[in-house]
């Protein structure tokens, strides 16, 4: 593994755009891979469609109604909670990188605890209101 140069580490030389160019290149390679796989698939596979085969699977009986169904609204509440908490959680990352640096320290720690505290109150509220429980 001697040939691996240091350049892949942006902190050690190579630039910001190079890093993301590599990611872009990988996206292209990944898409190419999928395309190649499906081309091979197209060349190799049989195509024998029958109306029965194209029916939606419903345990062997003919499908009833449309392909959508109502589910509990509870799922949706979880998604809602997540969006709010995700916005909260992302602030942890810039904070995490600086809070121990010189000039920040305990005060910043307390600031973040206040921030998280508010959200924790929200979580407790949700808990108390029974949102996190299943009926």
């Amino acid at each position: 593994m001697e040939w691996q140069p240091l350049a892949a580490d942006p902190a050690a030389g190579s630039g910001y755009f190079d890093a993301y160019a590599a990611i872009g290149l990988l996206v292209v390679i990944g898409v190419l891979f999928v395309m190649v796989a499906f081309t091979a698939n197209r060349l190799l596979r049989p195509v024998v469609n029958t109306p029965e085969k194209l029916l939606a699977y419903e345990c062997g009986v003919d499908p009833v109604g449309e392909g959508w169904a109502h589910t509990q609204i509870r799922y949706y509440v979880y998604a809602f909670l997540y969006v709010i908490f995700a916005v909260d959680a992302i602030y942890l990352f810039p904070w995490a990188t600086v809070f121990a640096a010189a000039g920040f320290g305990a005060a910043t720690l307390v600031e973040m605890f206040v921030f998280i505290g508010f959200l924790a109150v929200g979580l407790l509220y949700a808990w108390k209101k029974g949102v996190l429980e299943w009926t």
Partner: protein, 319 residues
Amino acid sequence: MNLLDTLLRCVGTLVAFLVLPLVVGQAEHKVMAHMQGRLGPMYAGGFHGWAQLVADGVKFVQKEDVVPAGADRRIFRLAPAVALLPYLLVLLVIPIGPNGLVGQAVDAGIFFVLAVMGIGVLGSLMGGWASANKFSLLGALRTAAQLMSYELPMLLAAASVAMAAGTVSLPGIVDAFHWWWVPWQLIGAFVFFTAGLAELQRPPFDMPVADSEIIFGAYTEYTGLRFALFLLSEYAGIVVLCGLTTVLFLGGWHGPFSDGLGVVWTLAKTFALAFVVLWLRVTYPRLREDQLMRFAWTVLIPLALAQLALTGIVKVAIS
């Protein structure tokens, strides 16, 4: 930028992306079989059925591609790629050895990883909706609810490591690692790994694909290669999750003789974790949907918050 070098790294990542999940898959065949007193595949390839998954791949490519008549064809076809490609991208940035031995380091490391992995859920949602099948739709909704619920503890646990290291770059985190981080970040590691398992919908968190209830969740209508891609994304997900847990919580390439054997250490830790993933699958029954959700919100998230507080206090105390 050396284009050839970058290209090599990308192709290397793709190869790793195609090989490592197969290794994990084969290990799953064998480990699961032996834990159940069986032998698992024994014929393909000769020696203990090592080529079973290669044979499966060849079989999948030759299979008919059935798109249900009622389906939204374009989205149905696009979904497996959307589910698969995020893991490929994530694999690129996981460092496996010291001195820049990584596909491509990104300064926003953890953040990049978590953000990109979050896109995968779109694949399941698209597939589940476009199948025009009730089971698929239910599975997609469950997947989405589960992934969103477990993404949060994962974010919080990752943030705890970022706090400990003072950086969000993955190689930077491993560089800053000391052995006493393992007990310090133990809760975080547990939360991260468990939440990751749930994100991958591995048993015991496989309610969205519970075959006894909703056939195979969002992937019910998929056949052939498209189904194989969904499966590949699951196993690639195991590799990525174990690699990330190794890098974030277990010190990546650190270990005795790590100067020469850094890669070996990373891979060994990754595969040890992958073994744990398989072990858990064999051992535990599936959690019920409400238990799943309650576990995320009332156990993992408070634990992750506690870990954050612990990390913050210890870090400020020692600096």
